[in-house]
Amino acid sequence: MDEILEILEKDGRANIEDIAKMIRKKPNEVKKAIKKYEKEGAILRYKAVINKELIKDSEAEVRALIEVNIVPQKDLGFDKIAERIYSFPEVNSCYLISGTYDLLVVVEGKNLHTVSNFVAEKLSCLENVRGTTTHFLLKKYKEDGVILKHRSENKRIAISY
């Protein structure tokens, strides 16, 4: 992977001047490369990783992982049905996977109720959906490589040879 992407993947706010210094290139070249990645869709967007458990005034959110069994559609396979599913705004992520079921769908809602309603009234009713199993998420420990815990203090002594 290009080093620019490597840097941005870790720190989406890294600025162009700093990146240019880090990889010994001109700011203009870096800017151009980033623009190109954005245009191609290699960089889709920049977002913050938020530990929602620490945000007291936010409305609590419920997440569920739903295993979905589907009957593939002729000529289109799984893609068409997946599209019908992932287009719902409630769906946060959607993966086609190997194993005993076909799609893994991550759904977010305000509470248990909204998520259950979504599964019962929308997901299960889809023509090609054969069955679903819903797992509610209880606690998040690590997400996308980020450990959701207060960073521990640096334990090094402040000065050494």
């Binding site: 700093d18 990889i23 090094r156 002594i157 000065i159």
Partner: protein, 383 residues
């Protein structure tokens, strides 16, 4: 109580007071740390924990766990094509520090001279003296901090027994390409001088491939190769290093080691053994990260008028602060007091490194950026 004359004569580092000042202050951004800011990769820590659960709490053989020596043998073979026999030519030591001490004590007869290019890591001189030798310091600041054949020839005489070479170097970050090393090797072998090569930063070489000293022409029989896990695997606190060399010297070093240390803690040896197996990828990742920080720091320092060479390895830069008119210690102390940024005065690494400071970029990009902003503000006030 009457303390040994040699110890009494040893200079307690002149900047001890400055270090105490740093340690007593809060909320300091420290660019003065000589160890990685990463913690040991998890799989390595886990191996240490697992070994304790399994009840591995005993001594090991003096030379160290065979499995670790074998791992080191394989690592050196793969990386450099070096063939050190795990039975007779490899010794596990308590960091490179112990390896250095053992090598010097095994080699030195009273008043033998040991060449030490400076600026250098702080222990080389004192440990030489403790072993009964005479350190001969070679100042390199006029030669881009590199030792040259000419400098060597100037300092060698009949009593010269060895040299302590360190590359990539602490505190300057300089390193050598094969051609330069072969020239050094030619002079050393002509005078039959033993090279103690401290290559603990070897894995952190940026612009070219690190060359291990014993791979040079006919050098292996005259070299003690020292390396360890501290820097490349972020394992400073585990204290594991290793020494490789001809079997006579390793046997001699093992003799001292068995009476003084016995063996390196087994937990640390177990963890180190795992590091060789599964943490090579982490080493590469850390290296890439250091490299980016290095480029950032060098660009910033040069733009601030603190001239520095681009380091080729380790995680230090050694900029000149002569343009400020301050000496190393005053610069460091004022920077600490006024802006709460800690650096190490160059004079810690040799009396003649006046006018330089050591900056370690083993800290997060955020801290690095903030520290450099503060240095900028500091310089604006001073100029």
């Amino acid at each position: 109580m009457q303390i040994s004359k040699v110890v009494e004569k040893m200079q307690p580092s002149g900047i001890r007071a400055f270090f105490d000042l740093v340690l007593g202050m809060k909320e300091v951004i420290s660019l003065g740390v000589g160890e990685p800011d990463f913690v040991t990769p998890w799989q390595v820590r886990e191996a240490g924990i697992y070994s304790l659960e399994q009840g591995f709490t005993s001594y090991t053989s003096n030379k160290g766990l065979y499995k670790l020596r074998l791992g080191i043998h394989r690592y050196l073979k793969n990386k450099f094509g070096l063939d050190y026999c795990p039975d007779e030519e490899i010794l596990i030591t308590v960091g490179v520090s112990e390896g250095l001490d053992l090598a010097l004590r095994s080699l030195i007869n009273p008043n033998d001279k040991i060449l030490i290019p400076q600026p250098s890591y702080v222990s080389y001189g004192p440990v030489t003296e403790l072993a009964g030798g005479i350190p001969v310091y070679i100042e390199t600041s006029k030669d881009g901090f590199k030792i040259t054949p000419k400098l060597l020839e100037k300092h060698i005489d009949k009593k010269t027994k060895g040299i302590v070479l360190n590359y990539p170097a602490n505190p300057t970050g300089i390193s050598y390409r094969r051609k330069e090393l072969e020239e050094i090797n030619k002079v050393l072998s002509k005078h039959n001088i033993i090279c103690i090569s401290d290559e603990v930063y070897g894995d952190l070489t940026y612009d070219f491939v690190h060359v291990a000293y014993p791979t040079l022409t006919k050098a292996k029989n005259n070299t003690v190769y020292l390396n360890g896990f501290s820097k490349s695997y972020a394992m400073t606190g585990w204290r594991v290093g290793f020494a490789c060399g001809p079997k006579e010297i390793i046997a001699a070093m093992t003799k001292i080691h068995q009476y003084t240390i016995m063996c390196v803690p087994i937990t640390s040896q177990m963890a180190a053994s795992e590091a060789l197996v599964s943490a090579r990828k982490s080493v590469e990742e850390m290296k890439r990260e250091y490299n980016r920080r290095k480029e950032f720091v060098v660009a910033e320092l040069n733009s601030l008028g603190l001239r520095c060479q681009r380091p080729q390895g380790a995680f230090y830069v050694f900029p000149s602060i002569k343009s400020t008119g301050l000496n190393s210690l005053d610069f460091s102390r004022k920077l600490l007091e006024e802006e709460k940024v800690a650096v190490v005065p160059g004079t810690a690494f040799g009396a003649r490194s006046e006018g330089y400071i050591r900056i370690s970029y083993a800290c997060s990009m955020d801290n690095l950026r903030e520290a450099l902003n503060r240095i900028k503000r500091f310089l604006e006030k001073k100029r």
